[in-house]
């Protein structure tokens, strides 16, 4: 079986490695140019996951860690599709998310922010997209929180998102922001992205059509992975 190669990743759309105003990147960014590879099987294959890897509550952050009741916070639904650059759905692919609680505190041994841990909130979820590329999570809206960069930097409310696709070269981690948040435009991590349109694409829209009345408000967030490039005039036997 052969799989066609991927469309070249647009490195002017993604953040560069070195972004001086996000200070941690300064010592963690390679200085040499990346070596561009034409795809081989090492890039075009990737891991797959099945429903037996997961439990029913894995995508419900309101319930998947609850001990004595529901977590504190604004109840939200985050839903959308994983698509490729041709607009085609990416089915049965793993989507993992993680986030702070409603107070802006992460359940992590390294987070020491003074906002309290929520005893009923873990802060992670995972799911497979369906055959149309749809996914859905239920959670609480994460809080903004301060972080050490300049002394007065605040992260906008965000949810971290990890997606696989079918090829290891499609692997992507990004962050989802919320419509209307004034902190987005101020954030040095957001501003590592050079193109405003690419930033806008990471802002989930308030989706009143998908809210659950008297229960949970909804945000819609589509995720786009690299597509496979067309292979006109290239129907050669493999290996030629």
């Amino acid at each position: 079986m052969t799989t066609s190669e991927l469309i070249q990743r647009d490195r002017e759309w993604h953040p560069p490695a070195y972004t001086k105003d996000y200070k941690t990147s300064v010592a963690r960014s390679p200085r040499n140019a990346l070596l561009s590879l034409q795809n081989s099987d090492s890039e075009l294959t990737g891991p797959t996951f099945g429903h037996s890897d997961f439990d029913l509550l894995d995508n419900d952050l309101i319930r998947n860690y609850a001990k004595s009741g529901d977590p504190i916070g604004e109840r939200i639904i985050v839903h959308g599709r994983v698509l490729d650059e041709h607009g085609r759905p990416v089915p049965n692919t793993l989507v993992e998310i993680w986030q702070a609680n409603a107070g802006g505190r992460y359940r992590h041994k390294k987070d020491t922010y003074l906002a309290p841990i929520d005893p009923n909130f873990g802060g992670c979820g995972r799911t497979l997209t369906d055959d149309q590329g749809y996914y859905v999570f239920r959670t609480v809206k994460p809080g903004a929180y301060p972080w050490r960069n300049w002394v007065n930097n605040w992260r906008p409310a965000h949810i971290h998102v990890s997606v696989f696709g079918t090829a290891f070269a499609q692997r992507l981690i990004t962050q989802m922001y919320f419509e209307g948040d004034p902190l987005i435009a101020k954030c040095p991590i957001v501003k590592t992205i050079p193109d405003q349109r690419a930033i806008d694409q990471l802002v989930a829209a308030l989706d009143l059509n998908a809210t659950i009345p008297l229960d949970s408000i909804a945000y819609k967030f589509d995720i786009v992975l690299r597509g496979h490039r067309s292979t006109f005039f290239e129907n050669r036997p493999e290996g030629n």
Binding site: P15, A27, S40, Y106, I173
Partner: protein, 199 residues
Amino acid sequence: MVQPLNYLKESASQTAGPYVHIGLAPGAAGFDIYRTELGHDITGPNAKGDRITVVGTVTDGTGSPVKDVLIEVWQANADGTYPGRGAVEDGFRGWGRVIPDFDTGKFSFETVKPGAVMGRNGRPMAPHLNLWLVARGINIGLNTRMYFGDEDKANAADPVLNLIEQTHRRDTLIAKVDGSTYHFDICLQGDAENVFFDV
């Protein structure tokens, strides 16, 4: 004006941040939530081939260990077959997640040594692990490869290693052998900086 092309754009990457473990390895973040955490077992119990251990440290441009890095590994089995490309041993996923010790930054993982896999144009590639690094301060995941120090002949013919113009930099991708243990340090920046790929 011309017709619009109407392709979608790939979602832009953002750093995985310091708390990536909550999402991808909650046990390392300090809590237990899932029945099965993904990525703990690259090979499964039935994999053929040489069982190996890979150890190393990821360092930054100041020489300090990157203790909050998360590395994903993707590899073929001992026959050189990737899952999805042919029959592999039952339970062989070929993929795993590696988290260093938060105090020292040293990582260690076990797998089987992969076989050579076919590259482009019918040229075999020397055995290698595909690695993807994410962390706080890494804006877009870094792709690199680990080759094996006991494969001199295959490495010398490898089409990817041969693309590296500065020949001394090829060594940044070759792990040192110590019995069944391979030592592979990854330097993000500086004189010993690894070769990273735009795949």
